[in-house]
Structures are given as C-alpha cells and as structure tokens.
Assembly symmetry: C2
Homo-oligomer: 288 residues x 2
Amino acid sequence: VSVSRPTPAPSGVEAAWVDGLEAASVKVLDRGLHYGDGLFETIACPHARPRLLELHLERLLAGCERLGIRGVSRPQLEAEIERAAAVPGLLKLILTRGSATARGYAPHGDETATRVLLRYPWPADDLDAGRDGVSVRIAALRLGENPALAGLKHLNRLEQVLARAEPHSESTSEALLFSSSGALISGTMTNVFLVEKGVLSTPRVDLCGVAGVMRRIVLREAARARLASGEALLAREHLERAEEVFLTNARIGIWPVRAIGQRVLAVGPVTRELQRLIAPLLQEGTLG
Amino acid sequence: VSVSRPTPAPSGVEAAWVDGLEAASVKVLDRGLHYGDGLFETIACPHARPRLLELHLERLLAGCERLGIRGVSRPQLEAEIERAAAVPGLLKLILTRGSATARGYAPHGDETATRVLLRYPWPADDLDAGRDGVSVRIAALRLGENPALAGLKHLNRLEQVLARAEPHSESTSEALLFSSSGALISGTMTNVFLVEKGVLSTPRVDLCGVAGVMRRIVLREAARARLASGEALLAREHLERAEEVFLTNARIGIWPVRAIGQRVLAVGPVTRELQRLIAPLLQEGTLG
C-alpha cells in the first residue's frame, strides 16, 4: 500500500489510494462528486510522520457525525495515514458518504464511505513567508452563511475556488473573506487572527468558515501563555484597526501578514511569540 | 457509446460515460470531487429524446462562463446526450472543471473539463402526483446566500443533502427551503410557485437557488397566456397567504402542492391551466 510512484503526475501527486488500495479513480456514482457530500483533511508530514493527526481525525469524525456519514473506522484511517506518511509529504484525505445507492439528494443510510488518500511532495520551503510575512488582498466574493455547514471542512468549496480565481496581483499569497452579513471569516485556505490593543482574536466559525486545526493550536497556546485571546464576531473595522494580523493552517503554521492591499503592517510581538511557541510543533511534530 | 447495460446497479444507473467513453470511474484528482467545482443537468428523455435540451445546454454553458470553465464543446455535448437518449430514461450530465493540474483551490486555466453522463431508467410514473398533488414540509435548514453562485446548478449540494436528510414523515415528497435572511427560495429539487390573489410568482434566484429549466418554461407560458406573473422576493407570509402553490422541475413538470405541513390547499385554477399549457411538452417534448 505504501508503494510510491517515482514520476509524479503534472499535478504533483506522488501516490493515491482509494479505500486502502492504490488506485487512480473513484466511482462515477460517488456522492462526493455528485454533491460534494463529504469532508477532507490536509495533513502535514514533513518528517514522515502525520503532524497533529489526533486533531485532524477528531475534526473529521465530528464532521461525519454532523453530516450523518456512518461506518467510518478511526483505526483504519489512522493505519492508512501512517502508512502513506512513511515518506515525507503532504497528505490529503477525502472522505465521502460513498457511492449513491439510489438517485437523488437523500442519503439512504446504506452507503459505504469512500476514503481517498493522496500524497503530494512536501511543498517548497515556506520559511520566507513565516519570517517576512505575506501580502493579502480582500476577496470580492462574500461567503454564504449556514450554521449547518459552518466549521466543517466539507467538500463544497466553490466559494474558495471563485475567491482564488479573482484577478489579483502575483504578490498576494492569500485572500481574506467576509461573509454575506459583513463578518470577517478567514482566508481561502487559512484562518486569520488579529491583535488589537494587545488582545488576540480570531473570527467565530459558527456561521461559516472552517474550524482549523492550527487555529485550535494557536488558541490553546495563547491561553497557556496567558495572552488575552478568544473567538469573536469581527467586522471590517477590526481588521483595519488591528496592529498585527496573521494567518494559520496545518501546513504553514503561522504566516504574519505584512500588507493588506495598500496597507502595510509590521510583524508584531504577539505574532512572534506565538510563532516561537509553536516552533517545536512545526520542527519536531510535538508541543511541550 | 450507446451500449446499455442489461443489469442496472443497485443505484439504478443503466449506463455511464466519461468524456464520451463508457466508464465507471473518474480520476481521483477531479476538481468535481475535491471542491464540487462543476455543474450538472438532469435531462428528461421519457420518449428517447432529450426534452428541453436547448435550455439545459444554455444554462450549462452560462454556468461554465460564470465559473470560468473553458473549452466545453456544445456540439460534442449535444451529440453525446443524443446518443445516450437513444433509450428512454433520465440523463444526468455532470461537467467539472476537470482534473487538478496543481494542488490548491486556484484554477490554473489549463484544466480540461470532465464530462460524466449517466442514464437512469425513466422513474416510475408520477402521474398521481401531477393529478392529486403532493405534501411538502418546511426544511429546518436555511440556505446560505451567495450571489456568485445563485442560479447555477453547481455541484455544491450539501445543503440539499442535509435538508433531505432531516427527519420527516414518509408522506412528504419535498421540503421547501428558506434562505438565511428569511426569503422563500425553492424545494430541494424543485422550484416553487405561489398564486396570491390570482397573481403567479416564484422566488428570485439572485441570492441562492437554481434557475430551473421548467421554472423558465412556466414563466414563459404564463406570460404568453397573459397571466399576471413574475419573479419576486417572497417571505413566509406570502407562502401562508397563497391560494395555490406548485412545484416544478424538468422531470416532473408541475406538481400541485396539496399540503404544507398541517395546512391543506386546494389544487387551483392557475395550476391546472399551467399544467394544461405544458402538457404537450411533457407528452410530446415540444410546445406550440
């Protein structure tokens, strides 16, 4: 199962498994294809070990619970991920409700979940971005609000695709997204944190957005370090007033934001302190 | 290409083609699977001819334009649909942006769209529903609002899946959906029309919902028959005050609603008149 392919496809994928077996395709009736009826996780394995695997699996299984996807075996997922991570890389796990057993949107309860596991090479070093920060833009697209889907890392990602596809300068690494009611939510592939008068906050993800694994780590480390911090309903003004802004995800850790459109920001002390606190996690895969 | 399979799978699918060739699977890197990055059409072919093909293709290609899916050949789609419709059935065409050529949400512009065409048997006769009407419920789930996606028949359908999965009585055939701001939008698989003081209206689909092909036909036929009619922003009160309510889609034509939860409705004259006007279309595939 852990056989790797010497010549990556143009997409860069090195190896692919479906339901535990090396495979390059999924069934045409898969509800992941038809409806985006499923979830995914992106798991960093830079040292040939799946980083934060517990948190990824916890979120995935909580998502299955909310979507009513049944019959998923955690030990089986763990074993397959561990095997795929025998080589350094970035894993993407897609878990769908499985092939449709009848026509139409309604799940029939007798579907068997499909597991698609892909390994990509570990991306080119992002150390520069972590050190110097990145430029971001504000997306024109606004996210729809739906508490039933909020927080989940589900497969309905057209909003993120369209936000990324907006015309933009080559120099911006990410787009910040607001929701239809004007709340700041996240980047397209990152969560966002603000520091305002020394207080750290990140948008709530109860109307839209993804409850990121690294977001959770940063909130936990901030609380441990007794930094004033929490989730909040944040508007454009909060972003404009923030002294520090940074982005997080499971792969990148923390990227300071050094510019939002024309506005330049300094990389501040709270960002640096949090980077320092999570450095052991990024370097060795564990936190003290 | 038009070979049909004698033994349908449990899902009922009779035949499947991918990019014009009989096939049972799509590539694991397809962006339809990863992001729901694509569109679909359900085309009724009860008489071994694709009904309303022009309107389906027009909507599909308009959707490609909006999502930036390029290189789709209308003649090729037409030819494949015509061949698949050589046997009576219900066709589902899924058109995705194609396999990912790089990791991440951003389309890279060099993708080749994937065409998945499925033929299901023509469903068991719905004549009873057309004659006697159906019972519907109000879904607890509310649709997120996003003008960038509104009107499109795209593959991000988790909201519809969850609405169908809500606990409900066996006797309800459809669930009506409101949006996050309280506007009536549609059913999960149908558009909805109301008659209030003799005036026909259907919800706008500029914040969410699908611009249904049969919805378009009904609006056109109503205008031809000089019925007062149009699209409108409709709230719960409009639904409560309506004398007549009916549902439409490309397969069913018009289903009168005879009950919404506990409230019983009569099948009224506007509904019957519109059913009469579209009957030739349903029976012979063309309108005068």
